[in-house]
C-alpha cells in the first residue's frame, strides 16, 4: 500500500528535499559558511562518528559546517570490511521437536556455535566502526540497532542478526518509513518480538506494543485497545524456518475489521505501520530520540522548539532521515558550548574512540568483544527491547573502573592481549589461542607512542584532540610523555564526548 498517496496532502510540490533544506538552513545558520576549525570538527566527528585521528582532522576542519555535514551525509551505506565467511552459509538448525539425546546434543552444539558466531560478528562490526569511511552512516546503524532492537540471546541464529545489521546499514540514512516496514518483517525482529507466533486464534501482542511504544509513538499516545487491534492486523506474519525469510501465512491472519487510533478497516500489518507513520507524534518522537543521541539529553524550551521545527521538515520530506540529520547537525544548539563534552561516552565510543585517537591498528577486533561486554555494551544483544538506556547509566562504580582499567592498559607500550573470556576480571594474560599460534603479539594492539607524540607541535593540540571538556584533575606530568597522556585519559573529562 502506498502510504504517500493515502496519508499525505496532494498539494506538496515535487521539490527535492535536499534543495529545500539547503535553502532553509543557509538562511538561518550564520556561521555555516566559515571554516569549522579543529574544535568544532572534533566535536562533530565525536558525535556524528566515532572520534577522529589527528591526521584526519585537517580534512574536516577546513570545511564549513555545511560542507562537513554534507560530506557525512554522502557517506556510503555499505560496509568496507568483509564479514565472517559463515554469513553466506545456510542456517542448519536441529529440529526442536526431536527430543532424543542425539538431538539434544546437536541443539547444544548449535547454540554454542551461534555464540561463537556472535563474538565474530561483533568483532567484525567493531572493526567496521573503527575503519569506516562513512562514520555518520555507521553511527546511525548503531543508533537504529538500539532503536529497532533484536537480541542474539533470543534470536539465536546469529546470521539473522547479520542480515538485520546490513538492512540497518543500508537504510540508516534513507527513508524512515521504508526502514520501519523493512525492519518489521526482518526475520530477526519477527523472532525477537514473537511476531512469528502471533496467530489469529491466539494473538501475541509483543510486536504491536513495541512498534507503538518504542518504534514510532512513545508511551501515552495509544491505548491498550489499539495494541490489541493492531496485534490482530499483524497475525499471519511469520518466518520460514528453513530459509529464515519472512513469509505471510494467510490461514493464520485475522482479516476482520479493526479499529486502530481512530481508523477502521480490515487492516493488515503494513496498513498499521502506515497508520502509525501518519500520527503527528511520530516525527517528533524520532527526531527527539536522535537529538538525545547527537546533541544533548537535557532538552530545554529552545531545543524543544528546534526539534518541533525539524520534525515538521522531517514530515514534509516524507520521513527522509537525512533531512532530520541535517536539521540536527546544523542547528545552533549542536555547536553550542554547553553541548560540548556533555554526553557520557558509550562503551563503543570509549573503546573505538580511544583506538582512533591513538592511531592504534588492530590485527583482530576479537579481543575487544569481551571488553565491550564487560563495559555493558554487548553488540547484537542489548539488555532488553528498550535497548541501552545510555547517558549516566553507562557509568556506575563498577563500569567506571572497568573503563579506566581498559584505558590504562591501552597505554602500556608492551602489547595488550585480552583474554577470550574477559568475564568479571579484566584479565590481561596471554590467551591459550595466542600461545598456540606462537606469534609474540597475537590479538595484539600496539600503541606507537613516539610516532603519536611527534604529530603534535604543542601539547595543547594533543590535549584538545582527546578531551572535549576541560580536564578536572591537574596534570603534574611533563607534557607529551606517556604519564602525561595517561593522566589525560584517566581524567574524568575523557569519559565525555
Amino acid at each position: 500500500m502506498n502510504f504517500y498517496a493515502k496519508y499525505f496532502q496532494a498539494n506538496y510540490f515535487k521539490v527535492s528535499c535536499h534543495f529545500c533544506c539547503t535553502v532553509l538552513l543557509c538562511c538561518f545558520t550564520l556561521s555555516s559558511n566559515a571554516e569549522m576549525g579543529n574544535a568544532e570538527a572534533n566535536h562533530l566527528l565525536s558525535r556524528a562518528g566515532f572520534a577522529v585521528s589527528f591526521s584526519d582532522l585537517p580534512v574536516w576542519s577546513a570545511l564549513s559546517r555545511q560542507q562537513a555535514v554534507e560530506k557525512l551525509l554522502q557517506g556510503s551505506s555499505s560496509n568496507i570490511t568483509s564479514p565472517p565467511a559463515w554469513v553466506s552459509d545456510p542456517i542448519i538448525r536441529p529440529s526442536k521437536k526431536d527430543k532424543t539425546d542425539g538431538n539434544r546434543q546437536a541443539q547444544k552444539a548449535f547454540l554454542k556455535l551461534q555464540r561463537e558466531h556472535h563474538a565474530e560478528l561483533s568483532a567484525w562490526w567493531l572493526n567496521e566502526m573503527l575503519t569506516t569511511n562513512s562514520p555518520l552512516n555507521e553511527r546511525m546503524t548503531l543508533f537504529w540497532h538500539n532503536h529497532f532492537v533484536s537480541g542474539q540471546k533470543k534470536v539465536k541464529a546469529t546470521k539473522l542478526l547479520y542480515i538485520q545489521n546490513q538492512l540497518l546499514r543500508k537504510q540508516a540514512m534513507g527513508n524512515f518509513g521504508s526502514l520501519l516496514h523493512a525492519v518489521s518483517k526482518d526475520p530477526a525482529m519477527l523472532i525477537y518480538l514473537d511476531s512469528a507466533s502471533n496467530r489469529k486464534d491466539s494473538p501475541n501482542e509483543n510486536f504491536a506494543r513495541e512498534v507503538m511504544e518504542l518504534f514510532t509513538l512513545g508511551v501515552g499516545n495509544y491505548t491498550e485497545k489499539d495494541i490489541k487491534e493492531a496485534a490482530r492486523a499483524f497475525t499471519g506474519w511469520s518466518v520460514d524456518r528453513d530459509t529464515g525469510e519472512f513469509v505471510f501465512r494467510k490461514k493464520l491472519h485475522d482479516d476482520g475489521q479493526k479499529t486502530i487510533l481512530g481508523k477502521t478497516g480490515n487492516f493488515d500489518g503494513d496498513d498499521v505501520l502506515d497508520i502509525l507513520l501518519s500520527q503527528p507524534q511520530a516525527t517528533e518522537f524520532i527526531v527527539t530520540k536522535m537529538w538525545r543521541e547527537l546533541v544533548s539529553t537535557e532538552i530545554n524550551a529552545a531545543d524543544k522548539a528546534t526539534i518541533k521545527k525539524i520534525a515538521v521538515d522531517f514530515r514534509q520530506s516524507r520521513y527522509e532521515i537525512k533531512t532530520a540529520l541535517k536539521g540536527i547537525l546544523l542547528s545552533d544548539a549542536f555547536y553550542a558550548l554547553e553541548n560540548r563534552g556533555s554526553i557520557i561516552k558509550s562503551p563503543v565510543d570509549l573503546v573505538i574512540g580511544a583506538l582512533k585517537q591513538l592511531d592504534i591498528k588492530l590485527s583482530s577486533a576479537e579481543s575487544l568483544v569481551p571488553v565491550l561486554r564487560q563495559l555493558g555494551q554487548n553488540l547484537f544483544d542489548p539488555p532488553n527491547v528498550k535497548g541501552w538506556p545510555g547517558g549516566e547509566v553507562w557509568i556506575n562504580t563498577n563500569s567506571l573502573l572497568a573503563r579506566k582499567t581498559f584505558l590504562d592498559r591501552l597505554l602500556r607500550t608492551e602489547d595488550i592481549q585480552v583474554s577470550s573470556e574477559g568475564k568479571t576480571q579484566m584479565d590481561m594474560r596471554i590467551g591459550k589461542k595466542a600461545q598456540m599460534k606462537q606469534d609474540p603479539r597475537p590479538m595484539g594492539m600496539r600503541f606507537y607512542a613516539q610516532d603519536w607524540f611527534s604529530q603534535f607541535k604543542t601539547s595543547q593540540q594533543a590535549q584538545s584532540l582527546l578531551l572535549l571538556q576541560v580536564p578536572v584533575v591537574t596534570n603534574t606530568a611533563s607534557p607529551n610523555t606517556l604519564p602525561w597522556l595517561r593522566a589525560l585519559m584517566l581524567d574524568p573529562a575523557y569519559q565525555l564526548k
Binding site: E298, S342, I344, T397, K404, T405, Q469, L490, L496
Partner: protein
Amino acid sequence: MLRRDFLKAATASMSVALVPKPVLAALINSSQYNNLLILVELKGGNDGFNTVIPFANSAYYQLRPKIAIPRDTVLQLSQSIGLNPALKALMPIWQANELGVLQGVGYADASLSHFRSIEIWDTASKSNEYLEDGWLGRAFEKSPPPQAFTADGVVMGSPEIGPMLGATARTIVLASEAQFKRQAKLASHADQAGNKAMQHVLRIENDILQAASKLGGDVVLKTDFPKHAFGSICKNACQLAAQKSPVAAIRLTLSGFDTHQNQVKMHANLLTQLAEGLSALRAGLIETNRWNSTFIMTYAEFGRRAKENQSGGTDHGTANMHFALGGKVRGGLLGEYPNLNSLDGVGNVRHTVDFRSIYASVLQQWWGADSLAVLGGNFKPVELIKT
C-alpha cells in the same frame, strides 16, 4: 517519561497533613541504619505458586496438571500451605520462627513486562506513573546514611542499581572487594563541577574512593557458604555486614526465574541455590553477631500465571509470595494467599497486599522512617518485626 514529583501527587490525593518540605535530617535517625536491609532479587519473576504451595487446594492441581508439586513432597508449613521441597534448607529458619512468608504481594493494574514491572517495584511507583529514583535511593537522599559508612548501598550479582538509584545515593556495584580496591586506584580526586554529565562522573569517582578507603579487609568467616554464584554473593554480603564501616542496604540478585519452558527441574535448582545461600547467610550473620540487626527480603518483578502453559512452564503473572527473614523478623504465614478460583481475563490472580505496604513496613519498623515521604502515599503496614 516525565518524572512526577511524588510529593505533589500525594498532596492531591491525601487528606492527611503532609510534612510541608522534605526535611533532610529528620526522616531517619542515622543510627537506625545500623539495622541492615538485604534485598534478594529473584530475577525473571519467581513462580510463587510452586514456591509457596497451596497443597490442599484442588484448583492448584487442576491448573497445573504437569508441573504442580506433588502433595506428598511438599514441606508443610500449615494445614494448607507448604514449601517446594527444594527449599528444605529454609526449614530450620521456619522452625526458629524467623521466617515470614508474605503472601499475595503485588499491585493494581500490574504490568506483565519484565523491565516495566521491575521499574515499578524498584521505584515504588503506581503502575501508570514513571519515577526515576529507586525507593531506597529516595530514602537515602532524604536521610543520608552516615558519611562514615563505606557506601549507602551495595549491589551484587547484577550491574543494575535498581532500588538504590538516587541523585545522591552512594551505591557500589561490587563483584569482588579485592578487585574493587585494586581498580579503585584509577579513580580521580576532583571537586564537583561542570555540566550534568561531568557531575555524574565525578560523583561516581568519589563514591569509589570513599568505598575503597573503607572496605574493611577480609573478614574471616568460619561458616561455609555454597560454592555457586549465589552462595558467593551471600558470603560477600556477610563479610560486608561484619566489617567496621557498614552499609545500610545490600541487594543480591539470583537470576534465571523466567521459566517459560520445562520449569520444574530448573526452578528446583534455583530454589535450592536460594535456600542454601540464605541458610549460610543466616549462619554467617549469627557467627558475626549481625543476625538480629539484619532484615532479609526477597522480591521479583512479578509472579507467574496460575495455569501452566503448553511448554511445561509458566508465563508472566502478577501477585507473588516472598520471604522475610532475620533475627527479629516475625515468623509465620503473613497476609492472605491469592484466590486461585478468581482469575482475571488473562488468567492472573488478584494481589492481597500492595508491595508498597511491605516497603512501608520495612521503612517504618526497621529504620523508624517516615514512609509517607519516601513512598508518596500511605500504605497499610504489615507487622514484620517481632515486638
